[in-house]
C-alpha cells in the first residue's frame, strides 16, 4: 500500500517537475511547481516525517510560491514574455545539460543498487525535530537566523528612501 502511494507521488513529482521546465507561460510553470512540492510533501509523509511534510506545504507551497507568483503577476505578464521564453527554450539547448544529468542519474542508480537505503520506520515527531534542531544542529539554526537578520536589514535599507519620499508627500 505505502509503496504504491510512494510510486504514485513520485511519478506526479517527476511529471510536474518536467512540465515546470518546459512551460513557456510563467504562471503555468509555477502552478506545476506547486503541485510538485505538494507531491514531495506526500513522499515526506510516507517516509515517516509528518513534520517535514507539513512544513513543506506551509513554507514552500504556501508562502514562498505565493511570493513567486506575486512577482510573476507584477513583472512578466502578457504574450510578449511567452514568446521570449519560447525563444530561449531552443531544442539544441537540451543536449548538454541532458548528457550531464544522465551521468549523475547513472551514478545515483549505481549507488542505490549497491546498498539499498532503508528508512528507519520510526515516525519523526515534531518533538524529536525540535530536540535535534536545538541540540546537535544549534549552530546551523544560529547561522540561519543571522542570514535572516542580514536580509531584514538589507530590505529595510532598500525601502528607506521610499519612506522618506512618502513622508514628504503626506505632510
Amino acid at each position: 500500500m505505502e509503496v504504491t502511494l510512494f510510486y504514485i507521488a513520485a511519478a506526479v513529482a517527476l511529471a510536474t517537475t518536467a512540465l515546470v521546465i518546459t512551460r513557456t507561460n510563467a504562471a503555468h510553470a509555477l502552478i506545476y511547481l506547486i503541485v510538485s512540492l505538494l507531491s514531495i510533501a506526500v513522499i515526506f509523509y510516507l517516509l515517516g516525517a509528518p513534520f517535514a511534510a507539513a512544513l513543506e506545504v506551509v513554507i514552500y507551497a504556501g508562502a514562498i510560491m505565493v511570493l513567486f507568483l506575486f512577482v510573476v503577476m507584477m513583472l512578466n505578464l502578457g504574450r510578449g514574455s511567452v514568446e521570449q521564453e519560447r525563444g530561449w527554450l531552443h531544442p539544441r539547448m537540451w543536449i548538454g545539460p541532458g548528457l550531464l544529468t544522465l551521468v549523475l542519474f547513472l551514478e545515483m542508480v549505481f549507488m542505490i543498487a549497491g546498498n539499498p537505503l532503508a528508512t528507519s520506520g520510526v515516525p519523526v515527531t515534531p518533538k524529536i525535530v525540535g530536540q535535534t534542531l536545538f541540540g546537535p544542529y544549534l549552530l546551523a539554526v544560529e547561522l540561519a537566523s543571522m542570514l535572516l537578520l542580514a536580509a531584514l536589514i538589507g530590505s529595510f535599507h532598500l525601502g528607506r528612501r521610499y519612506m522618506h519620499a512618502r513622508r514628504e508627500m503626506t505632510e
Partner: protein, 316 residues
C-alpha cells in the same frame, strides 16, 4: 479509523450546508443590527432565501471571458473550496469525533489555509483584468502577511499543551480555557483570521468602492457561487479552530452532549464575526499592513516570550 471514514460525508455536507445557511443568517443579523428587515419573504423568516439564491446562480449564464486564461480561470474557484474543505478534516467536533486525528493537526490547518491563497491569487491572475489583478496582488500580500501572525499567535497554545494535536489541545483545557492565559494570542488570531478569510473590515482584496469586486470581478454563475461559499466556509473553519484552541472545544457542563457545546460555541463566534462586519469600517491598505507588522508582530513575539518563560519556570 472507521469512525473517521464515516465522518467524511457529514463533515463535507455540514460545511457546505453551514456555509449556505450562514449567507442567510448573516443577512438577517446584519438587518437586525442595522435596524432594517433583511431577507424575510421566501419561506419562514426568509430561511429559503438561500435556495432561491442558489437556483438563480445555477441557472445563470456561466460566462468565461474570451481574454481570460480558461484552465486557471475554471480551476481557481475549485481551489478555494477544496482548500477550505480539507481544513475541516482535522477539526475535533467531540471526543473521538473527527475525520483524522493527526499529531500535526494544527500545522495541517495552517497548511490548508495557506493553500487557499492560491484560489484568490489565481482567480485574479487568470481573469486578465486590471481590477482583478490588483485584488489578487492585495490578497497575496495580505494573506501572506497575516499567515505569519496566525502561525505565531497559536504557538503559545502549542507551548502550553506540548502538542500540535487538536484533540490533546482541547483536553489540556479541562481546568481553564486557553482564552485566559493566551488572551494576546486570541486577539491576534481573531484579527489574522478575519484577514485570512478577507472578510469586512479586512476585505481589501475585493473592496467594492475601488476595485469593483476585486479578484472575482469576472466571475459569474456557479463559479462566483463557489468563491462565495469558500469565503463563508473559511469563516466557519476559523471559528471552529478558534473554539478548539481558545474556548475549550467540545468541553462544557454535562447536561448537553459535547458536539452541541462545540456547535453552540462556534455559532457564537460566527455571530461575533458578523457583528464586526456590521460595526467596523474598512481601513486603508497601508493601515492594514502597518497594523500587522508594527503592532501584531511585536504583540505575538512578546506573548511567545512570556509564555515560553513561564513554561520553562513551571517545568524547572
Amino acid at each position: 479509523m472507521d469512525i473517521g471514514l464515516l465522518m467524511i460525508a457529514p463533515v463535507l455536507l455540514g460545511a457546505l450546508v453551514g456555509a449556505a445557511l450562514l449567507v442567510w443568517w448573516e443577512r438577517r443579523l446584519l438587518g437586525w443590527w442595522q435596524d432594517r428587515l433583511g431577507p424575510n419573504r421566501v419561506g419562514p423568516f426568509g430561511s429559503l432565501q438561500i435556495v432561491a439564491d442558489m437556483l438563480k446562480l445555477l441557472t445563470k449564464d456561466d460566462w468565461i471571458p474570451p481574454f481570460a486564461d480558461r484552465v486557471i480561470f475554471t480551476l481557481a474557484p475549485a481551489a478555494v473550496v477544496a482548500g477550505m474543505l480539507m481544513g475541516f478534516v482535522v477539526v475535533p467536533f467531540g471526543p473521538g469525533l473527527h475525520v483524522v486525528d493527526l499529531n500535526i493537526g494544527l500545522l495541517f490547518f495552517l497548511a490548508m489555509t495557506s493553500l487557499a491563497v492560491y484560489g484568490v491569487l489565481l482567480a485574479g491572475l487568470a481573469s486578465n483584468n486590471k481590477y482583478s489583478l490588483l485584488g489578487g496582488l492585495r490578497s497575496a500580500a495580505q494573506m501572506v502577511t497575516y499567515e505569519v501572525f496566525m502561525g505565531l499567535s497559536i504557538m503559545g497554545v502549542v507551548i502550553l499543551t506540548g502538542s500540535f494535536n487538536l484533540s490533546e489541545i482541547v483536553r489540556a483545557q479541562q481546568d481553564v480555557w486557553f482564552c485566559v492565559p493566551q488572551i494576546l494570542g486570541l486577539v491576534v488570531f481573531t484579527l489574522a483570521g478575519i484577514a485570512e478569510a478577507h472578510r469586512l473590515p479586512f476585505d481589501l482584496p475585493e473592496a467594492e468602492h475601488e476595485l469593483t469586486a476585486g479578484y472575482h470581478t469576472e466571475y459569474s454563475g456557479m463559479k462566483f457561487g463557489l468563491i462565495m461559499i469558500g469565503e463563508y466556509m473559511s469563516v466557519i473553519l476559523t471559528s471552529a479552530i478558534m473554539v478548539t484552541l481558545f474556548f475549550g472545544g467540545w468541553l462544557g457542563p454535562d447536561f448537553l452532549p459535547p458536539i452541541v457545546w462545540f456547535t453552540a460555541k462556534t455559532a457564537l463566534i460566527i455571530c461575533f464575526f458578523v457583528l464586526l462586519r456590521a460595526a467596523i469600517p474598512r481601513p486603508r491598505y497601508d493601515q492594514l499592513m502597518s497594523l500587522g507588522w508594527k503592532y501584531l508582530l511585536p504583540i505575538t513575539l512578546f506573548n511567545l516570550l512570556i509564555t515560553g518563560a513561564l513554561a520553562l519556570r513551571g517545568s524547572a
